[in-house]
Symmetry: C2
Subunit: 565 residues, 2 copies
């Protein structure tokens, strides 16, 4: 791309252009501004030039020679000075007639391998990311090894734009962000709050079934407790503390120390283990304002947190118990492709890790064994574990094929010691338990953001905030429509009645835009059907389900909801 | 009391002794310390002295003469100097042979009227409440016009002590307060959290039925919004602000401005009114640490908040709608005695109140009309309304006869103007709605504290965190007991099985102390009953319900729960 730009506008000052995830960018100082309408021209020139690019030749130049290659380019001079401050030479790479200062790392055969690319956008970017520096022009592009991969990625991007949770969140009235309240602090509107409640109630019921006990804790605590837990030093997203009774208090970044207070409330015996504590609670993280985006990154996030105190020999069983539920929950939301990523200790670097080696070996074996039992794809990151214990992350692919890290199951040998949490074992001795930290879906807000994009706003029936919209053809069928509505609402089907004096077509279009799973149309025929109570039904994807009895359709809905359809 | 003390210990320095709610106290500087074991002696002397007290004689003394009455008493001298600094005289009252500096206000006939009293306790108290001053000895007592009132009050005090939510909260494992987290920030343990959830779910369902839409908002917001709402200036329990992106944020003291953001999210039409927004959300109030007490006063309180935007002509209907539900909910918790207290404007001081006079008159009439329709006892506090609207408070008497203010329904003409919240009326004009603020039970934590004391921890079946405890006579009946447990749990009855190797008597005692409504005892006879599945049942108040079939008892429980018994 830089070669093409320099061919077209030779007086441009080149700066840097790294590879990034799924593509690349390059920052230029143009003599006169360019825009996205110039991208096709650059693209064309790139395809023309690359035909003659057979490989990359490496050259080494002294600082002086290197600078001569860039007359009037203070950016390159700055880089060259930096790279040569101890007298080193710098490397240049050449392909075709283009060459440039470069650390290297290229494809073998550019004219064959660099075919499947696309320039995406133009943006402003400060030199070296510092707003005190000059604003440069950044051109973004993407490139893949095959045409299929490129096309899939472009489709994903297109789909992601249509499904953007910020756009759908507004259109479907799921949430709002008010500058009077603050960035990253969304207010869930009734439909969004309902989805949150359905997700939370479902998790609550699944967790209760496997023995979690739910507690409730406030959103603030003395700062000191996060020093004890070690969050304070390692955690740079803490909010600023506030004074209360001359002590520092802070919004909680984690629930762990709160739950530990309950464990500590009584002496505990081995008979009580596994001791499972859960809470779906909001924690606060001071994310940078530039990184906030709709529901995907917020400052108040509600975590489905679980902490289980176990004896070491209960690790296997406890892992299986929670991983089975995690899979069940992910599948419930239509995630069919997921994989486990295990983070283990580095056996060559044992002093890095807390606790005895045997416990680690056993725990990592347990993690691998359970992951392999339950997941088709398992990867192991040796040395990726935190110092206090190994973990499993569950990565899921959404409907567009993007991968998200959702669930985390973390083993922890550290916090029981920080908080002196023990139990009396079979021999009457006081010993430390391990803790299994479980977040089945992580932040509910982020999960909702992912779901909005995953479903493109068309939530499955069981999760849809409005499940059925009743649309009478005209006002005179209002009484009958109201009767149907009451019947459905009484059966806990979330049903709305549209009595607006608009045309039928308009009302159906509105319900379709709102992605309501089913519309019930009430006209002459239906309202005259007597005790059969006929209704006409269509789905949001335009399918006509014909005329059927209200009770028959109600039964179908109840059955689908029971099966999470 | 002071007369008796001075008779027994003549070298005591008297200070002050006012009447307080339900009694009185007097602060003394004793020459040598006294204790509660001295109270009977003082009591006896009081009864002896009062026989000769026929009335109170008033005398007026100059500062100099007054001081001569208290040689070596710096406290009285300080008071006398204060009261006479503009040359006034001070009043003394005399009865029998006792006299003292006194502003007056006495019974007519002490020897007849001062019979029903009791000295309660001895405590330390700084002179004039200032910790820099000397610590005096305070004696508390209580007095009533009749023996019955005195006895009732003493019984209430005794009962209240037994029912203290701090004691029961600990004994029944409902909540804990950890100094690692902070004062006034209780952690609800599983049983407490479950009660909170039952209360909240019940309110949610009642409010949904009458058209409230639930939103969700975070626990912090920019401080500025509470300036706009006017809370900042008038509300001294705000937490200290914290900096975020160079702006001040603060824990929310109220939900109102958060809910307003949702109203403001779209232009609103008269067709949407009444527009009902609800959220059961935790707010933060920096109560003084000395005033915190168990659940009755906390710093993080969860309010069952509701805000309804109405046209003025919808006031009557909306009030009736919520007051009916409030009554229903209070009766559900066994509150049988309650009354409405209305706060209205002062017609002689109209400039104090916001909005036009007609709207006030109509609103106050609506409040009175609905209150009189729905409550047997209604009192009106003329001039007690806030400047922005009249309100109804519902006062309830608990099982011990203590009165609590629980529900509040407040009319508000002010906030729509502060936040420029309007709607388009039938004529296409933009006008202000009124807001009805509703808290059906107020703070859930405080309500739980009241309920714990109201029920003395013996929650009714539907609210009990553990509804049934199964107690096998010995281990060999464990399988059968487990089968019964699974059957009850599957029917959503919260059932626990006590498999401890303790005696039957011990286990029944434990379940009774935990105030579990029913115990199921499983022995030889029951486990041999085959397909009938017999069980023996007793209630927590020791009643033997005999041997009956498990399914029959299950049906009884389900029926009782459905009827909130």
């Amino acid at each position: 791309m830089a070669a093409a730009v320099m061919e077209i506008w030779p007086d441009t000052k080149r700066t840097i252009g790294p590879a990034i995830e799924n593509g690349f960018y390059f920052d230029f100082e143009f003599a006169s501004p360019i825009s996205e309408s110039d991208l096709p021209r650059i693209d064309q020139k790139m395809r023309e030039l690359v035909k003659s690019w057979k490989g990359f030749e490496k050259h080494e130049l002294s600082a002086g020679d290197a600078k001569k290659e860039y007359p009037n380019n203070p950016y390159k001079h700055e880089l060259i000075e930096e790279f040569t401050k101890n007298g080193e030479k710098v490397s240049f790479y050449k392909s075709g007639s283009y060459w440039d200062l470069c650390k290297g790392g290229h494809v073998e055969n550019p004219r064959e391998q660099l075919k499947h690319f696309k320039l995406l956008s133009v943006a402003g970017a400060y030199w070296r990311g510092d707003e005190k520096n000059k604003m440069l022009t950044r051109i973004y592009g993407t490139a893949f090894a095959t045409k299929e991969e490129l096309e899939k990625y472009l489709w994903q991007m297109e789909e992601a734009k249509k499904r953007d949770n910020r756009k759908l969140g507004k259109d479907l009235e799921l949430y709002l962000i008010s500058q009077q309240i603050g960035s990253g602090l969304p207010i869930l509107m009734p439909k969004g709050a309902l989805i949150k409640k359905i997700i939370e109630d479902d998790l609550y019921s699944e967790k209760r079934k496997i023995g979690y006990q739910f507690v409730w804790s406030s959103h603030i605590a003395k700062s000191q407790i996060y020093h004890t837990s070690g969050h304070w030093g390692k955690y740079d997203a803490m909010f600023a503390p506030m004074k209360l009774d001359d002590e520092d208090y802070v919004l909680k970044p984690m629930n762990c120390p709160h739950h530990f207070q309950y464990y500590l409330n009584s002496p505990r015996s081995y008979k009580e283990l596994p001791f499972r504590i859960a809470e779906t609670a909001t924690v606060y993280r001071n994310e940078k304002s530039g990184e906030l985006g709709g529901l995907l990154r917020v400052r108040s996030l509600t975590i489905d947190d679980g902490h289980t105190f176990i004896r070491l020999d209960q690790t296997n069983e406890e892992l299986e118990l929670v991983l089975v539920i995690i899979k069940k929950i992910l599948e419930r939301y239509g995630f069919r492709e997921y994989r486990a990523r295990i983070s283990t200790s580095d056996p060559d670097n044992q002093q890095k890790y807390l606790g005895d080696r045997d416990a680690w070996v056993r725990a990592e074996e347990a993690l691998k064994k359970q992951a392999e039992k339950l997941f088709d794809s398992v990867s192991v990151g040796v040395g990726e574990a935190a110092f206090y214990g190994p973990k499993i992350d569950v990565m899921v692919k959404d409907a567009v094929g993007r991968e998200w890290q959702l669930s985390t199951v973390q083993l922890d040998y550290n916090q029981p010691k920080n908080f002196e949490m023990k139990y009396t074992d079979e021999n009457g001795e006081e010993v430390y338990p391990a803790i299994v930290h479980v977040a089945m879906i992580g932040s509910i807000e982020r999960f909702m953001g992912i779901l909005i994009e995953h479903y493109a706003g068309a939530f499955p029936l069981w999760l849809a905030p409005v499940q059925v919209k009743i649309v009478p053809v005209s006002e005179k069928f209002g009484d009958y429509a109201k009767k149907v509505k009451d019947m459905f609402n009484a059966a806990s089907i979330r049903t709305e009645l549209d009595m607006d004096a608009k045309s039928l077509g308009y009302k159906i279009r509105q319900a379709t835009l709102q992605k309501v799973p089913y519309m019930i149309i009430i006209g002459e025929k239906e309202s005259a059907s007597g005790s059969d109570m006929l209704i006409s039904v269509r789905s949001r994807d335009g399918k006509d389900l014909g005329t059927l009895s209200a009770s028959e359709f109600l039964k179908k809905l109840q059955n689908d909801i029971e099966h999470y359809l």
